[in-house]
Symmetry: C2
Subunit: 196 residues, 2 copies
């Protein structure tokens, strides 16, 4: 049998598969090495759309190449922009938003996501979600500023209205310093938008 | 869209659906009002088997009736026994074991699961799991002895070998005193048995 719970990314992907369907719209808020962008493109297919954001030119360059190689150029739109600005580039409701917080694996470890822009990006993403849409945040806190980023983010999420958002933290109990997963699901019966 | 994360039970059921297949074998370690027994019976179907345990005669009586009404008599085996003894009654590997820790809803609130027998039951269940099999523990800690039960159980699970078991805790961040979910997945490549 297949082990869904063998890693945070695996749990997130298993869950996203049940939510993001062909023709859907998804956002990779932290493109990095592009693996989530490609994964989401595979889920939405040629009638869907994926928006990707990263402030690192190298991440956008590498991922652009991978997107072309995989035949996804028509449906993937990449922006060399921080995710805090995603609302300026996306004018449609989305099924899913994915964040990978920390640094770009194999990239410059001095360039990390930061508490302030992360929170702004998360709020922008929540406002874009369709009712029933989801946000998955994979969080590594080993980098400098990591614990502060976690604290800012969790204290925001703890105060989200429980009737509008289902907010779960998924943690490995028997691993040290493992990344963990935050899942925010927008209630399927509510209308969109309006977070400050 | 459907909200998987609207409750702990919902998360557990959504996950169990992906693991427990027709012809499979499952254990309801805390039968209670029988809802998990019936849910599991629906998943394994007429070629599968469900074992249920509860120390309360009323729980076994009610659930036996419901099992008959639903046409599951052939595949469900109920025991008026504590789950700590499940190893004495099950002689085959199982795909899933489900625990609901706390008291029987609508039943006698003085009869609750207890730290010692819970831990014994969990260990017995882990030993019965097939490679790739799962345990889902929905935990309410509001009852007397609840926090101690949680502490005993989590401190045991924290020390499970991370190569053999994937152990996750799924918690609601924006709810007070909500039940939470513990998931233990046995690695799919390991052989069975042997926990003390």
């Amino acid at each position: 049998m297949f082990n869904l719970f063998r890693s945070t990314v695996n749990i997130a992907h298993g869950y996203l598969k049940t939510v993001v369907k062909p023709g859907g719209v998804a956002v990779d808020a932290t493109v990095g090495n592009g693996s989530d962008t490609l994964f989401l493109a595979g889920l939405v297919g040629l009638n869907g759309r994926v928006y990707g954001f990263d402030i690192q030119p190298e991440a956008i360059r590498r991922t652009t190449e991978a997107v072309i190689e995989n035949g996804y150029s028509e449906l993937v739109k990449l922006f060399e922009q921080g995710h805090e600005n995603m609302g300026d580039f996306i004018n449609e409701p989305v099924d899913a938003v994915v964040f990978n917080l920390g640094y770009l694996p194999g990239g410059d470890h001095n360039i990390v996501t930061a508490p302030e822009t992360t929170l702004t990006g998360v709020i922008a993403g929540l406002n874009l979600l369709k009712p029933g849409g989801v946000m998955c945040i994979v969080m590594y806190t080993g980098h400098s500023g990591g614990p502060e980023e976690q604290e800012r983010l969790e204290s925001y999420l703890r105060h989200l209205d429980k009737k509008l958002y289902y907010v779960c933290k998924i943690d490995f109990l028997n691993r040290n310093k493992a990344p963990f997963l935050l899942v925010v699901e927008k209630a399927s019966e509510v209308s969109m938008g309006g977070l400050k």
